[in-house]
Symmetry: C2
Amino acid sequence: MKRHQVTIIDIARKLNISKSTVSRALTGHPSVRPETRQSVMDLAESMDYQRNMLAINLSSSQSKTIGIIVPEFVTSFFPIVIMGAQEIAAEAGYSVLICQSNETYETEVVNARVMLANRVDGVLISMTRETKNFAHFEIFKRKGIPMVFFNRVCHEIEAPKVVVDDYEGAFKATEHLIFSGKERIAHLAGPPSLYISRKRLEGYKDALRKHKRPIIDELIISYDLNLENVKIYIKYLLDLPQPPDALFAVNDPTAIEALKVIREHGLKIPEQIAVVGFSNDYGSALIEPGLTTVAQPTRDIGRVSAQLLLDQINTDSSFWKPITRVLKTELIIRGSSQRG
Amino acid sequence: MKRHQVTIIDIARKLNISKSTVSRALTGHPSVRPETRQSVMDLAESMDYQRNMLAINLSSSQSKTIGIIVPEFVTSFFPIVIMGAQEIAAEAGYSVLICQSNETYETEVVNARVMLANRVDGVLISMTRETKNFAHFEIFKRKGIPMVFFNRVCHEIEAPKVVVDDYEGAFKATEHLIFSGKERIAHLAGPPSLYISRKRLEGYKDALRKHKRPIIDELIISYDLNLENVKIYIKYLLDLPQPPDALFAVNDPTAIEALKVIREHGLKIPEQIAVVGFSNDYGSALIEPGLTTVAQPTRDIGRVSAQLLLDQINTDSSFWKPITRVLKTELIIRGSSQRG
DNA sequence: CTGTTAGCGCCTTCAG
DNA sequence: CTGAAGGCGCTAACAG
């Protein structure tokens, strides 16, 4: 059983003053006699008084909390983004409420209700792969709750977005392979439904075009990101009459799977086939050979998103602008594409 | 400016009934006429009504939130623990409030106040390295707020604790090397100041003793976990008149560094020298050969801790027991110690 | 079954 | 400078 927590009324009674005065003293209101304030402060201290945020939240009808909806916690990407956001939020005195949608639309809808129920002051969202209907997000808009999309953004809703420059990252990765003398560069792409897949594919193609290389359709495979199938695709590519001499994979897990399959095939990396991934996951530096990859500023995604959200929270909604912040990527070259 | 959120009063007025009835209908109270309930539900739905947790929390004087205080977010360890805890909390309808102490005692004290102010229903704690004074934790006890320590536990406070069995993990790892026929097993240990280093060293020694192997001092090196120096220690070991034929490293990063150095030396792994690490970091499966290691159930640490906390929250404090849950480690055998 | 009333703990006018 | 009173939105005890 929880024992009675000390309230401003308790300390008001002991001091024979009104709770309003105590409240004012505690919140630093100017019109309180210094001695009064001091005695209040002292007593509060000695009684272990803690202001009750629940009550403050209710009466101010703001929760000082921002919500975050992410699709999964399987990879370390989202935890790191969240930690970045949490840092910024904490600095501003905000808490963070985390929900994971499990890549399921239905769960995402439930998550949105949780956010609403908790009266979050704003919400950070990275959508599931399957979200096609956005009514649950429109509600935030209708209620005047600011939101910021990151990573898996929603183009159908007008709101600030934080993404990395997938196009440029893919472009740089592909160009790097071209500069390394590779002629037949394959691309194991993600599903076209995902914006980032499309952008990375585009960057890949444009790099080829820029350097007057042909775009060979049989070397471009789009898949559902189910890692189990990577093996099949790679085998298919390696068994082509003219197999590729380089592979640009849509992300690091894919590239790492590919690396393993290629190794089993006994091909020399990078001489016979070079491999480049995307996102610089934790493992890419450890695998042998190290995986060349496009690094995303993961923690910064969280920090920038949170900052954008706080900006909106502290601004009248008529001034909100749906700016899109595009964070730069960095190509990290390792042994999978270049002999060290 | 936030627009007015719809409340039970709004829907009560529209239906010409009292807010109590609306409340009862919404919370599924049995004594409400089905038609009444239905009309309330329908109207609530069509008005996008969302119950206001802030108000519910205040009136029930519980926040349905558990707090977590962790020292840092630099490694992926704590984020993963947190995600594990978050999963369990979410299932039980609890939110999670996260604070990081930055390995600083002062910050930890502030974190504790934040938890109090937010009226968390319970708190999960992993202490900073420098925490020697525990008054800020005693407050929780005094206020009847349950706590559970994990990983960096506080032996001075009576509360449930969740740790992994470092001793047993090290014992199993060493025994595995002995069973593999290794005779001179080196141990690259962590600093004696760390509890886990001592426990792992102890496990290593006891395994040797159990199997009547000598404990050879020159094969035991304790270091500060600064990876840059691993190379030096490994070289030293390999250059001994009687070099080791196996190495048990205090953690995976150390083992992986060692693996690299050994490879450069041209020694065959595991024939000439086997290597075992500790913690099953993400990279240990990726490196070639795969690293044999002692897996810690990181996510489970979070899950078990959260469950223990929820158990306390839902139990009268007179029944609380300061049990210590020691999670089992699991030896994962890969190519670095055994030919596949 | 339903309405009335009284809090939960704090902040915020409105009067002194 | 300080006190009294009302309200934030909901739940719960007490009458009907």
